[in-house]
């Protein structure tokens, strides 16, 4: 492993993460409680406490390329356990936005799944499971992924063939909210 030259660290990255997440990055004293409690940690390439350390040291590429960002469940156990009251899950969210903006999405299929999910919400006002599946399959070209679960899910009525109805113009309203958010993001920069 090459030595990391800390005198060339990206302080602007550290500041940007702190500002955009609203969290004090320096408050982290590396106790590891976030890593200890993380239920998705077994899938991570870089434990969450080391992501926090990477942010402190301004190791932008290493952090934004971490697969862990995309394996995070956003369950917020890390935030709950943090003795320094840092919203670690919020920082992970900020890092995902930054990675997406930089075009550094290291686990594209997770991003594709989320986009597919959001597309159905935008159109129908609520999640539409079969729609998510179809969009995700098209995007990822993973046609047979989890198809074996479909019969059971269908029989238990967990997988409706038709989208859920969102009455009273709800679907359009949700669509407008998402549109406004996108416009503001385009205008002010930042995540969309």
């Amino acid at each position: 492993m090459d030595a990391i030259n800390l005198s060339h660290k990206d302080a602007a990255f550290t500041r940007a993460v702190a500002t955009r997440s609203g969290q004090s990055v320096t408050a982290c004293y590396q106790c590891g409680n976030c890593t200890a409690g993380c239920p998705a940690g077994f899938t991570y390439d870089m434990p969450v406490s080391q992501i926090m350390r990477g942010v402190q040291l301004g190791l932008k590429d290493q952090v934004l390329n971490a697969k862990s960002l995309w394996m995070c469940l956003s369950c917020s156990t890390c935030t709950l356990r943090c003795p320094n009251d840092i919203d670690v899950a919020g920082i992970m969210e900020t890092l995902r936005h930054m990675a997406r903006e930089q075009g550094q999405v290291s686990v594209p299929k997770v991003n594709k799944f989320w986009m597919s999910f959001l597309d159905t919400v935008r159109i129908f006002g609520r999640s539409y499971e079969i729609g998510v599946m179809a969009l995700y399959m098209m995007r990822s070209l993973r046609v047979f992924t989890d198809v074996d679960l479909a019969p059971d899910a269908l029989s238990k009525q967990k997988l409706g063939l038709m989208p859920h109805v969102t009455p009273n113009g709800g679907a359009e309203a949700v669509g407008r909210i998402m549109q406004r958010f996108k416009e503001r993001a385009d205008r002010e920069g930042g995540a969309a």
Partner: protein, 653 residues
Amino acid sequence: MRIGVFICHCGSNIGGTVDCAKVAALAATFPDVVYATDPMYTCAEPGQAAIEEAIKNYQLDGVVVASCSPRMHEPTFRRTVERAGLNRYMFEMANIREHVSWIGKDIEANTNKAAELVKMAVAKLRNNKALHAASFDVNKKVLVIGGGVAGIQAALDCAEGGIPVVLVEREATIGGKMAKLDKTFPTVDCSACILGPKMVDVAQSPNITTYAYSEIESISGYVGNFTVTIRKKTTYVDWSKCTGCGACTEKCPSKKTPDAFNEVTGLTTAITIAFPQAIPKKAVINAQHCKKLLTGKCGVCAKTCPTGAINYEMKDELVTETVGAIVAATGYDLVDWTQYEQYGGGRYPDVITSLQYERLLSASGPTGGHIVRPSDGKEPKNVVFIQCVGSRDRSIGRPYCSGFCCMYTAKQAVLTKDHMPDSQSYVFYMDIRANGKLYDEFQRRAVEEYGTEYIRGRVSKIYPDGKGHLIVKGADTLLGQAVEVEADLVVLAVGVEAAKGAARLAEKLRISYDSYGFFMESHVKLKPVETNTAGVYLAGVCQGVKDIPASVAQGSAAAAKVLSLFSKDKLQSDPQISQVDIKRCIACGKCVQTCPFGAIELFDFRGQQKARVIETVCQGCGLCTATCPQGAIQLAHFTDNQILAEVDALCQC
């Protein structure tokens, strides 16, 4: 008036960002200033000599030094002017370091502000009057509150110095937390063996009067002359008759009383003697568990007692003592760890505190020194220690380090191996703080010789696996991975907080305490034993976390302070106190209510009510002056006229 002004460079501390020569030149133009100069180090010996010389050569009758904070050197320069024949209050100090040079880099602005502060000081000095201290008698007797190791040390040292000591202890025995410990780090010597003789010395010293099972009810008075009311809590046992034979404790039928001395690791009887080496070795009835007191039917102890010491009708008793100084040594309590739901919140019997573990290790504890699991009484194999529970945790409002947990955890790991050679200890830690003499070596021995597994990381949660083990889920941050241990027993190194009721006692003592309840010392570095109330000193953890050697050292330090205070037969009072102009006083009583020291009283003056300041009690805080609607109370050395003169000078700048 003839005033001399000295603008100190303080090396480059002030000279670097203030044009001192220019300030001196400006000062020479201020009213009544006949001499102004800018020495390099005014506080140094040549600097002080220059002040004395100038006073003589220019017939000065007042001096202004513009330098550091008066907290630092006002007493120094007051002594200087006094040596040259001036009254010590004919001196003023302008703080141009902390208030000017250290906080700004703009030389021009700094120079202007420094000149303005000097102008204010000169204006005040022109209104100063010579003040003279009064003297009063000292009652050479000391009250020590708290009979832990710090209080014991303070009491013994004072007694050794010939001073009568009143020692007040809340529990039934002195000894404090140290009496509960099995062994002590870094030498692993038995706690009872080194504390016991000191406790016996307390009992045997003719100079020490001990009030155990007693609390401070109220305190009035001032340095040299405090009056203290002590509440002797009801023991239901006449201690003058009790011989400590223990016959009552053997016969008492209420055998399921939680044992407070053993940190509730075991059960005891309703009438108990805390432990075999208790001082005083006297019995106390726990009213919440005594059948006689609860139901009226029992009385076995009264029948058993060979001296007839049991008295179910006993009530609290108040006694009054007068003392000249007070040492507060009230120690600490453990943080309520049950707020950690992720560690079971107290629901898992095999998750215990470090102090409970001490009782399990101790030969005089409920298990006779055998380590067993509270749940099934079996010997544990894997013992997990978790450090920083309730310490360094902002999320529960305890951001500070409790100081000694790293060391006692290492000690407990060593003792675990000694007691059970087949056991394996694991310690989850964040940092090892082992900065005392022989401490780091001891912690390394726990790792290298005793095979303790140290894992750097916090523990996220503990849960039972249903097979009798507790799963401890933590992280090894050095490995960068989550880890788990199947534990038989989990010991939490629970952090320290101020003793229960510390804040209430501080209010009675009229001393400050911080947001965690620790008592405030007068100066964090230079006056760690004194408080801001004259005659009240601190020892031990009540002032801040510290281990046994540091507590003993501070106990001795507090005793030294008391002995030096008592080395004088008379004390000088500070003349910077409030005075009532009785012509103006309308006896509205606002000052009496406002005074935080109880230093003002109403009295009858030729048939009229008037306020009067008790000179020895007044601390010169000035609250009464600000409160008085008539301007009838003036604080000497900070009179309205003096302060207005300063404001005037500033407004004319």
